[in-house]
Amino acid sequence: MMPLAMAKAGERVVIRKITGKDEVRQHLAELGFVVDGTITVVSELSGNLILQVKDSRIALDKTMANRIMI
């Protein structure tokens, strides 16, 4: 496992685990970040990411991306 923040643009990855406070995890889940879900890294800007999740694009900063393990 490694944090999502380390993924490169263009990579397609599977979420293994999501850590952090309950409300943050809950919000991520509402946006489609769930364990075993597949996401694609569209773009990366110094650790901040734009991700393709279930047909939508979500922007995450590095702190958040570090909470998602792939």
Binding site: L31, V35, S43, E44, I50, K54, D55, R57
Partner: protein, 717 residues
């Protein structure tokens, strides 16, 4: 029969477009999440007694953001007769996550699959009948943007509301979870509205604090339910909330697999993603952003806008209206006071403001285009790492950008920021960005004293941005704002070609509110100002005065003027203008129009310029401009601050901070300016240097909370 239908759906799924279509109203539609922050009501066209309620966009019914709290409160407590759930057909899986929760509320639901035109264009197929059967509610298709199917969807919602039969809820949850939920339902049935039973049961399972508080279950029952929930958690080795989320998604993907046929391979990059790879590229992102902004402001304030404003001010108002109106009125032998009121009061005051409308419209038009195509949302992403350094989040950028049009919607746009501290900080600093109404002040002084140099406007924006940065760093270190900024999570809309109607509508909306203010607030204050400065007491007799230095207004102005003397503009006119600026910032210019136009018959704008140039030096003019850009915003924006802060203490802190900061910066600018231009080293310079030192210390010192934490640790040792 009175019916209420609520529009609910994910952010940016087209609710407001549909709302406008259904009710014929003109709510503002933007292409980023969080445009609708308050619920809005309208009457359905051609259907008597049917009210449509536009709710803010939400991802779920858990209260993570303020919008979710607003929407959830309405749906659960006020219980609309039917919910029309708008679902983005191009992103159906994520959207159905909310749909399943809405259905659990037990109210009649009609699902409208929006953007069906895009779905078809992508070559995808959605089997509406199958989807409806799986969800246990009616499903229709529509395209809000093209105006197709919206009314039909609303009519289905009316029909469902009128003859609703309770349908069996879809079987979302399985195994021990379903068992636990049924058990909770049994224990709380009778305590909650029967229709909402399932929803309450799920919320209790998730340990939703607000619902627990609302139901106030007794301790023994609570513990009994707790045991059931804990059993589930051990069995599935996950926490209650995640269990619910996972089972919900599992159910949804089953439904989607059977009802939706996609043409493109899963996870392939769309055109929008390909644009993103270029525009938000790590090397190109910032240069592209700077280039775009430079282009926008050069066109709006420099070339095209400048030309249009020049024409309106000098030709339209200066020569055509002002000159000929006076000639006509004098020719018709009207009373001198009436000529004065109309020409010097109303036309000079309101005209000075209206002259800036073309410039504003050009700026708004371009910002609306950027917004509608989806670029603005990316800007928040690109700016995040920069804003983070000054203690704000990238999301603060949108309120600030909106505030460059008008501070009121800017302050309101801060609502999309989930974190309380970040939101308050954004509210406090947003009004530093020069709004549209402050642009006339900048343009007036640039023209009067700086030979129309474009650098004045550029420096004004720079001062605004610098004020935000300096305040961000300073405030972040106080105890009030201690802590890390909240993480940045934001959905980005797909890029699309801006729709002409949306762009024109957004431009007009913003421009119109500007014009409306010119016609109301500014008209009224121009009349009052004209009265105050035309009448006065001379030799113990009250009457019209020839020289406005003896007017009532001058007497009032002279009382407050000394406050501004250290800033270099101690004349009573400047003091009055600053205060009328609180009513509306455009008034500053309007006031000068009335005050200086009086004595010398303003034939054209330049007439005021020369008079202004006589009363101000370049330095004092710049100091005046800085103060008026940074100090408390207009009453409307202060009202917005009060609403958003929702606390007298915080409102006071915010406005007090702005005024104090403005005073300090103006003083530094003026006194140090004097010093460097050979004004000698006086007490003013000493104060200015001391203030600079204080600012530097506030910027560089250790954050207060860290200090407190460290001393706390020391004490423990």
């Amino acid at each position: 029969m009175e019916l209420k239908i609520a529009l609910a759906g994910n952010p940016n799924c087209g609710k407001t477009t549909l709302f406008n279509d259904l009710t014929g109203s003109n709510q503002y539609v933007g292409n980023w999440p969080g445009v609708t922050v308050e619920k809005k009501e309208g009457k359905l066209k051609k259907h008597k007694g049917v009210t449509i309620q536009d709710l803010p966009g939400i991802y779920s019914l858990s209260p993570y953001t303020l919008e979710e709290v607003v929407a959830r409160g309405y749906l659960v407590n006020e219980k609309p007769d039917a919910i029309l759930n708008i679902v983005d057909g191009t992103n159906i899986e994520r959207n159905l996550y909310l749909t399943t929760q809405l259905i659990e509320l037990g109210l009649p639901v009609v699902v409208a699959v929006n953007m069906i035109d895009l779905v078809r264009k992508n070559g995808d197929k959605i089997d509406l009948a199958k989807l409806g059967a799986a969800l246990g509610c009616e499903v229709v298709e529509m395209s809000a943007l093209k105006g197709e199917g919206g009314m039909a969807a609303a009519e289905r919602a009316i029909a469902v509301a009128q003859q609703y039969q309770h349908q069996e809820l879809p079987h979302v949850f399985t195994g021990s979870v379903e068992h636990a939920l049924a058990h909770i339902e049994e224990s709380i049935s009778g305590r909650v509205d029967a229709r909402n039973l399932r929803w309450y049961a799920i919320k209790l399972f998730e340990r939703d604090a607000k619902v627990e508080e609302e139901l106030a279950l007794d301790e023994s029952l609570k513990q009994h339910l707790q045991a059931h929930i804990a059993d589930c958690e051990t069995e599935l080795d996950d926490d209650a909330e995640s269990i619910i989320t996972n089972q919900r998604y599992a159910y949804i993907s089953k439904v989607v697999d059977s009802a939706v046929k996609k043409k493109a391979a899963k996870h392939s990059l769309s055109t929008s993603d390909k644009i993103d790879r270029f525009v938000t590229n790590r090397i190109l992102a910032l240069p592209i952003f700077v280039g775009v902004m430079w282009l926008v402001y050069t066109i709006a304030i420099g070339t095209l806008g400048d030309f249009l404003t020049g024409w309106t001010n000098d030709t339209l108002f200066g020569e055509m209206i002002l000159g000929s109106l006076r000639d006509w009125m004098v020719g018709a032998e009207m009373a001198p006071w009436l000529v004065g009121l109309v020409v010097d009061g109303i036309v000079a005051g309101v005209g000075a403001v209206i002259g800036f409308v073309p410039q504003m419209l050009v700026l708004f038009l371009m910002l609306s285009m950027l917004e509608d195509c989806g670029y603005m949302a990316r800007v928040a992403f690109i700016m995040d790492r920069i804003f983070r350094k000054v203690g704000l989040s990238g999301k603060s950028f949108i309120p600030m950008l909106v505030a460059s049009g008008c501070g009121v919607p800017g302050v309101m746009a801060s609502r999309t920021i989930e974190n309380d501290r970040d939101r308050k900080m954004t509210i406090m600093t947003t009004c530093f960005i020069p709004c549209g109404a402050k642009m006339p002040i900048i343009a007036l002084f640039a023209g009067a004293l700086f030979g129309g140099s474009g650098w004045v406007a550029v420096s004004a924006y720079f001062i605004g941005v610098a004020a935000v940065i300096v305040s961000g760093i300073m405030l972040k270190k106080t105890k009030l704002f201690a802590g890390d900024p909240a993480p940045f999570v934001m959905e980005l809309p797909a890029y699309h070609v801006p729709s002409a109607s949306n762009v024109l509508h957004a431009t007009w909306e913003r421009g119109w509110s500007f014009i409306k203010r010119a016609g109301t607030v500014i008209l009224a204050s121009s009349v009052i100002l004209w009265f105050l400065q035309s009448f006065g007491v001379v030799d113990g007799v009250f009457g019209m005065v020839d020289d406005n230095n003896t007017s009532l207004l001058a007497s009032i102005g002279r009382v407050v003027a000394p406050i501004f003397a250290p800033l270099g503009f101690g004349g009573w006119q400047a003091a009055v203008a600053t205060f009328t600026g609180l009513i509306a910032k455009e008034n500053v210019v309007g006031t000068f129009g009335v005050l200086y136009g009086f004595a010398e018959v303003a034939e054209d704008g330049a007439e005021i310029w020369s008079l202004l140039a006589a009363d101000f030096t370049r330095l004092s003019a710049y100091s005046f401009m800085v103060f008026n850009l940074l100090c408390a915003p207009c009453f409307a924006a202060m009202g917005a601050i009060k609403r958003e802060m929702n606390s007298p203490r915080w409102t006071f802190i915010a406005i007090g901070y702005m005024c104090g900061f403005a005073y300090v910066i103006s003083l530094i600018v003026y006194q140090l300016g004097l010093l460097f231009t050979g004004g000698g080293f006086g007490i003013g310079a000493v104060v200015a240097v001391a203030l600079v030192a204080l600012l530097c210390w506030l910027l560089a010192r250790k954050p207060q909370h860290e200090l407190a934490a460290r001393t706390g640790a020391k004490l423990k040792d």
